[in-house]
């Protein structure tokens, strides 16, 4: 099997799990270890992408530009990437991140809305960036729709398109169908980004590789939104066992996960009721902390909010609907706040 390119997104997806509190010192320490270990790409930005510091998504304590700057300065071999969500970020933030020296821009949209990415792919290519298209909530659409959307991104200049399991709702057959279909239809690379709500983050990532994926994502200790991601150190260990030689130093990753990342966790990332119900209902993972906040404020249950959000087919960026759902559930129960 080919050697996949691994992107570590502890400093982007993991930003949700630390409530957007990364400091420049933490970023420096984590980037240093990932870089030394030989991880080829390190993603750094607000969890919701450039300019994501908002009430809806959660304000960052430190400017993400400061964090990106530190990451670019620290990395010797690794490329620094940032996530970009059209509408949350605009061309202005894209240009600023490029000026700070990022090399890769990952442009993320709900997996039916690829046509909003054109202006950003074109600008990113003009600025000399490598580009990745991120089809979020890929579990909601069949492979045929993802292929259409990925082809649009390819036509705008994407160098790779990811199947993104934002809700951790895909099982292995679903990963296989989607990744193989993209591999077949595209002449660019294909990637896979997992979440662990059903306990399948590592398994799904391996299935994606077996289906031809060229790029995969992980986070140290699995630190990411909701149930977290495929732990980078475990991925490397598994790839070693499969005789897929990534050249990444497992010992450095294990130490970094244990000593640098685990202490940052506000609570251990486990597949508890909230995370399982989120994955089961197919709800975007970064909703978790917002759902907990609303559940507490309005005196309703986390699982029932998740279930209703799933029924309403919410997409990334719809944290405001959590409040709407919580208010309605509270009203139904006769709870006044």
């Amino acid at each position: 099997m080919k050697i996949p390119r691994l992107t570590d997104t502890t400093l982007r997806d993991g930003d949700h799990a630390v409530s957007h509190s990364y400091t420049p010192e933490q970023v420096r320490a984590i980037v240093k270890d990932l870089d030394e270990a030989g991880v080829p790409v390190i993603e750094v930005s607000h969890g919701s992408g450039l300019n994501g510091s908002t009430i809806q998504q959660g304000f960052s304590i430190h400017s993400e530009y400061d964090l990106i700057k530190v990451a670019v300065e620290t990395a010797k071999q690794a490329k620094i990437a940032s996530l970009f969500v059209p509408g949350i970020g605009t061309s202005k933030e894209l240009r600023e991140a490029a000026e700070l020296g990022i090399s890769v821009l990952r442009i993320a949209v709900h997996c039916t809305e690829a046509d909003v990415t054109e202006q950003y792919f074109r600008l990113a290519k003009e600025l000399g960036l490598e580009t990745v298209g991120f089809l979020m909530m890929s579990h909601t659409q069949p492979a045929s729709v993802l292929v259409e959307q990925a082809k649009l991104m390819e036509s705008y200049g994407a160098d790779c398109v990811y199947v993104v399991d934002s809700a951790g709702a895909l099982v292995q057959s679903g990963v296989r169908e989607r990744v193989s279909a993209l591999k077949e239809a595209l002449s660019i690379q294909v990637g896979f980004h997992a979440h662990n709500n059903l306990g399948l983050a590592i398994g799904n990532t391996i299935t994606a590789l077996e289906s031809g994926a060229d790029q995969i994502d992980g986070t140290l200790r699995g630190l990411g939104a909701g149930a977290g991601n495929a732990p980078t150190e475990i991925l490397v260990a598994v790839l070693n066992k499969m005789d897929i030689e990534t050249g990444i130093n497992l010992a450095i990753l294990m130490d970094a996960a244990e000593e640098k990342v685990a202490p940052l966790m506000q609570t251990p990332i486990v597949i508890d009721r909230g995370n399982l119900s989120s994955g089961y209902a197919g709800v975007y993972n970064s909703f978790l902390l917002h759902v907990k906040h609303a559940a507490e404020k309005f005196g309703v249950g986390v699982s029932e909010i998740m279930e209703e959000l799933g029924k309403r087919q919410t997409v990334a960026g719809q944290e405001d609907w959590i409040l709407d759902v919580a208010v309605e559930l509270a009203e139904k129960k006769g709870i006044t706040v």
Partner: protein, 303 residues
């Protein structure tokens, strides 16, 4: 009763929906012409069916008729920038429904009467029409330090113009939340949701307040402006009662007024879920009608 002659420039969906609104309301305008550039367009066909004069000579046909005093521009920002001067030269009021923003932003419930002598007014964006007045309603009771608005619409209701230029929507809407709403700092974020069946347009406003304030007075102010908006956008309503939530912000832990809103369209041309399009045409109608009344010297406007 004497009416003011109005024309619609652009025979696409927005222009056609507006046509139905002018025809179904017995207001102060008479629809004299619908002018497009495609003789075979569905919009011109529909106008003909309704007995309205049509042309496919675009702006030229409108400029030929000196009696037309109000022109609704439902073309594109690029086209409007080219048309604006000619309309002004001929003393025609332009109600600009494109993102061109040649003239001042107007929201009927907030500042329409400040611009009655303007010859070109701009309707901002769907998100701006829906949320700027809500921010204004808070700000007239207590200063809003930061406002963030999330405008969510069904994917099917978002046309290629918006899709190709999300930056423009973001910039225009945030500017309106500052200029019209009065927020010191503003953000606007669009969300397109492809759910089936399609969702109605929904908007959320977060207004961060830095000082002590009378919560009941804020809620009452918001409810009253929502009722005013619903007088010209019948499907506009608040979802639940606005409430205060405490949030961690860059300015400390502060009370944040949370307002949720839904806009269901009237179903004139667009499906009812497309409240985002309906609020543009309904607001344009309202603006045109108020101007027409002003031209006629009518003091009170009734609908």
């Amino acid at each position: 009763m004497t009416k003011v002659k109005a024309a619609i420039l652009g025979s696409g969906n927005i222009g056609t929906d507006l046509m139905y609104k002018i025809l179904k309301n017995d207001g102060n305008m008479e629809l004299a012409l619908v002018s497009g550039i495609d003789p075979n367009s569905e919009g011109l066909k529909r106008a003909k069916e309704k007995g309205i004069a049509v042309s496919h000579h675009g702006i030229d046909a409108i400029l030929e008729d000196p009696e037309i005093k109000i022109v609704f521009d439902a073309t594109s920002a690029k086209a409007h920038k080219l048309n604006a001067q000619a309309l002004r030269d001929q003393g025609k009021l332009a109600v600009d429904m494109t993102p061109a923003a040649v003239g001042p932003f107007v929201v009927p419930t907030v500042n329409l009467h400040d611009h009655l002598e303007a010859m070109n007014v701009n309707l901002i964006s769907c998100g701006g029409q829906a949320t700027a007045p809500l921010v204004y309603a808070v700000n007239r009771v207590v200063p809003v330090h930061y406002a963030e608005v999330i405008a969510t619409a069904a994917s099917l209701s978002i046309g290629p113009g918006t899709r190709q230029n999300v930056d423009e929507f973001v910039r225009t809407t945030a500017n309106a939340v500052q200029q019209i709403g009065g927020a010191k700092i503003a953000r606007a974020i669009p969300v397109f949701n492809p759910a089936q069946p399609p969702i109605n347009m929904t908007n959320s406003v977060y207004a961060v307040i830095k000082e002590a304030f009378d919560e009941a007075a804020v809620i009452e102010s918001v409810q009253s402006i929502a009722a005013e908006i619903s007088s010209y956008v019948p499907g506009y309503r608040l979802k639940g009662t606005p409430f205060v939530d405490y949030r961690e912000t860059p300015w400390g832990r502060l009370p944040t007024v949370v307002i949720m809103n839904e806009v269901i369209g009237a179903g004139d041309l667009f499906p009812t879920y497309a409240g985002n399009l309906d609020i543009m045409t309904a607001s344009a109608y309202r603006v045109g009608d108020v101007y027409a009344a002003h031209f006629l010297g009518v003091k009170e406007v009734t609908q």
